[in-house]
C-alpha cells in the first residue's frame, strides 16, 4: 500500500500504524471538544424536552452492548486474517459490520423517536449538543461500516491474505476507537444525568 512501509523504519514501528495512531490522537481532541461542550451546556436549556424526559437508558444499553460485541467480532476477524483463514475473516468481518449497522439502526430509531417527542437540533441546547455529538459519532460508525464492507468484499475476492493483515488491523484500531468513544458518550450523556 505504501512505499515507506516496505522499508525498515527508524523505530521499527509500522508507518501506517504510527500515522493512524496519530490520527486517532487528533480525533480524540475532536470528540473531546464535542463532549466538553455537551457537559458545559448540561442543564442550560431554557425549554424542554430535557434529557431526563426523553433518554431511553434500557434501549441504549442494548445498542451499547451491540457495539461492544462488534469490537469482539472485530478481534476475531483480525485473527482470521492473520491466520490466513478466509472463512473466519469473512464471517467476522460481516458480523462486525452487521453489529455496527444494528447500532446505527438503534440510533436512527432513537433520533426519530426524539423527533416525534419534540426534540430537534433547534429545540434547545440539549437538542443541539445531543444530536451533534451522537450524530458525529454515528457518522464515524457509518464510515467504519463502509470500511468493513470494503474489506469483506476484498476477502470475498480472495484479495485479503495474511500479508494484508495490517489493513484489517488499522480498520480494527479505528473501530475500537469509535467504540471507546461511545462508552464515554454513553456514560456521560445517558448514565450520569
Amino acid at each position: 500500500m505504501n512505499h515507506a512501509a516496505t522499508h525498515p523504519t527508524a523505530t521499527g514501528l509500522d508507518t501506517w500504524k504510527l500515522g493512524f495512531w496519530t490520527f486517532i490522537g487528533s480525533e480524540s481532541l475532536f470528540f473531546g471538544s464535542l463532549i466538553s461542550t455537551y457537559m458545559v451546556y448540561k442543564g442550560a436549556s431554557r425549554v424542554g424536552p430535557f434529557p431526563a424526559d426523553i433518554l431511553n437508558i434500557p434501549l441504549t444499553s442494548i445498542s451499547t452492548f451491540v457495539l461492544l460485541m462488534s469490537s469482539f467480532a472485530m478481534v476475531l476477524a483480525l485473527a482470521g486474517v492473520q491466520n490466513g483463514s478466509r472463512k473466519q475473516a469473512l464471517i467476522w468481518l460481516m458480523a462486525t459490520a452487521l453489529l455496527g449497522m444494528t447500532f446505527l439502526g438503534f440510533q436512527a430509531y432513537e433520533f426519530t423517536e426524539f423527533y416525534h417527542e419534540g426534540l430537534t437540533l433547534s429545540t434547545n441546547l440539549f437538542g443541539s449538543t445531543f444530536f451533534v455529538l451522537t450524530g458525529f459519532h454515528g457518522a464515524h460508525v457509518t464510515v467504519g461500516v463502509i470500511w468493513l464492507l470494503v474489506l469483506w468484499v476484498m476477502a470475498l475476492r480472495g484479495r485479503l491474505g495474511r500479508a494484508d493483515a495490517l489493513k484489517v488491523e488499522i480498520a480494527g484500531l479505528y473501530w475500537h476507537f469509535v467504540d471507546v468513544v461511545w462508552i464515554v458518550i454513553f456514560t456521560l450523556v445517558y448514565l450520569i444525568q
Binding site: H3, A10, L13, T15, L18, T37, R46, L121, I146
Partner: protein, 605 residues
Amino acid sequence: MATAERMVPFAARLSGRGGLWSWITTVDHKRIGILYGTTALFFLLVGGLEALLIRLQLAVPDNGLIGPELYNQLFTMHGTTMVFLVGMPIAVAFFNYVVPLQIGARDVAFPRLNALSYWIFLFGALFMNVSFLFGAAPNAGWFGYAPLTSEQYSPGLNIDFWVLGLQILGIASILGGVNFIATIINLRAPGMRLMRMPLFTWMAFVTSFIIITALPVLAVALFFLTFDRFWGTNFFVPTAGGDPMLWQHLFWIFGHPEVYILILPAFGIISDVLPSFTRKPLFGYSIMVYSGILIGFIGWGVWAHHMFATGLGPIADAFFAAATMIIAIPTGVKIFNWLATMWGGSLRFNTALLFCIALIAMFTIGGISGVHHASPPANLQQTDTYYVVAHFHYVLVGGLIMGIFAGFYYWFPKVTGRLLDERLGKWHFWLTVIGANLTFFPMHFAGLLGMPRRIFTYSSELNLGSLNMVISIGGFTMAVGTLIFIWNIVRSLRRGEVAGHNPWNAHTLEWATASPPPEYNFGTIPVVESREPMWDRPDEMVAQAQRVPERPVHMPSPSYWPIFTAFGVLLTFALFLTETWWTPLLGLAWTAVGVIRWAFEPVEH
C-alpha cells in the same frame, strides 16, 4: 565533488518533466513543497494588498475612501489570509521540502496524503477568496466572535464562506500534521537519532503535534457555527441559553497554540541558519529542543489571556496571567542561546543572516509587549487596541516573516540550484526591516493613545492622524521590499549564481545531496554519526548522498486521486451554500469514491 552535481537550469527541469499534468499528479515532497511555497507567496501578495488598502483608508482621519462594508472584509481577510493562507502553508512548504532531506528520507511517510493536503489547502484558499467575487468576503474579524457571526446579525454569505473555508483548510492541516509526525518518527536515516535532528526538523515535529491537537478544536467550533447558521442549532444563541463565551474558549484553545504553530517553524529556521553564517554550532542544542517542546506544552494552558477583558474572574485571570508569563522564560532562553551562538563566531552577513538578526531584534520587542498584556489589569487598557496590533505584528512579521525570509535565502539554492541575488537581497532586507518598524512601532503609541483596532475610520479629534500617516508610509515601504523580493526570485531562477550542493558550508544533511536534489533525494541513504554531519564528515556524506544508484530507485507513482478526493472535500463544504440539507452528501459521496479508488490504486514497488 566529482559526483552528479546537477546544474540543469530550474525552468528546464520543470518543463522537461511533463509540465502541468506532472504537477497535478505529483506526490514528490519537493514538488509539493514548491507548490505550497508558491501558493503561499501568492497569498502573501494578496494579504499584503489588503493591508495596503487598509493603510490607505487609515492614512488620514475621517477618511471616506473605503466604506466600512469593504473595510471590514479587508481586515478580516487580511488576518485570515496571513494566518491560514500564508503563515501556515509557508511553514508547511519548508517542512515539505526540507524535513525529508534533513533526516535522510526519500519522501514523506504518506506521499499521496501529502498531495491531498496540498490540494485541499489550495481549494480551501480559493473558496475563501472567491467570496470577493460575490462581494461577500468574510467580515467579522479573523476570530469571528459570536454572536456577531450568527445568521441573525450576519445574514449574508460572508460568514458562510469563512466558516466553511476554514473547515476545509483545517482538514488539510491535520492531514499534513499526521504525515510529518509519522515521517519524522519513522523515516530517519540510520544514526539520525532524535537528539541529532536539526532544530528545524525538531520544530516541525513539535509544530505538527500542536497542529493535530489544536485544529480539531477549531473544527468543532466551526461545525457548531455552521450548524447554527444552516440548521438552526443554538450553540451560540444567547436567547436560547447559548453562551458566546463558548466560542471564545474553543477558538482560543485552538488560537493560542496556533500562534506557536506559526512561530516555532521560524525559530527552527534561524536555529539552523545561524550556525552556517557564524561557523559555530548551535549553542545549547538540548536546551533549544526542550524549550521548544516546553513552549508547545505551555502554549496549551494560556488561551484565556486573549480573554482578560471578558471578565473571567480574578482566579482565572491570575492563573492564565501566570501561565503566560512563565512561557516567556523558555522563549527568553531561546533568544539568549541564539545570541550565544553568534557570540565569538565568525559572522558572514548574507541576507539570510541579516533576516535572522532582524528576527531576534524584532521578536524580542514583540515578546516584551506580550509580557505587558499578560498582566490582566494592563491588558484591560491594551486589548482590542493598536497596542495589540503592534504586538502581534512584531511577533508575526518580526518573528515569522523574518524567519521565513531567512529560510528563503538559505534554502533557495537547494531548491533551485541557484543563489538569490545578494544585492537585491540587501535592498529587500533594509526596506522590509525599516518598513516593518515604521509600520508597527508607531502602532504601540496609537494604541496607548486611544485607537481601537478594527475601526474603518477615526475622528480627527483623537489627534492620531500623523502617527497613522507614518504607519501607512511604513506599510508601503514594506510592500516595495516585498516586490523586490519577488523580482529577486524571478530573476535568480534564471540568472542566479549556480550554487553547488553546499554554498553556505552548512552542517545539516540536506546540503549533502545535489542542488536541486534528484527525485529520490539520496543515491544511498547516508549514515549519520553526529549532529553536524556535513561539518564532521562532509566528503563521506556527499559521496553517499550523491552516489549514482546502480538500479533505478523506486519512488511512489504519480496519482490523480489526491486532487480528485480534495475536490470532493471542497464540494462537501461548498454545497452547504445551497442551503439544502442533502447536497453536502453529494460531496461526501464524491470523496468516498476518491478514497476507495485511491486505496485500490496499484502502487509500483
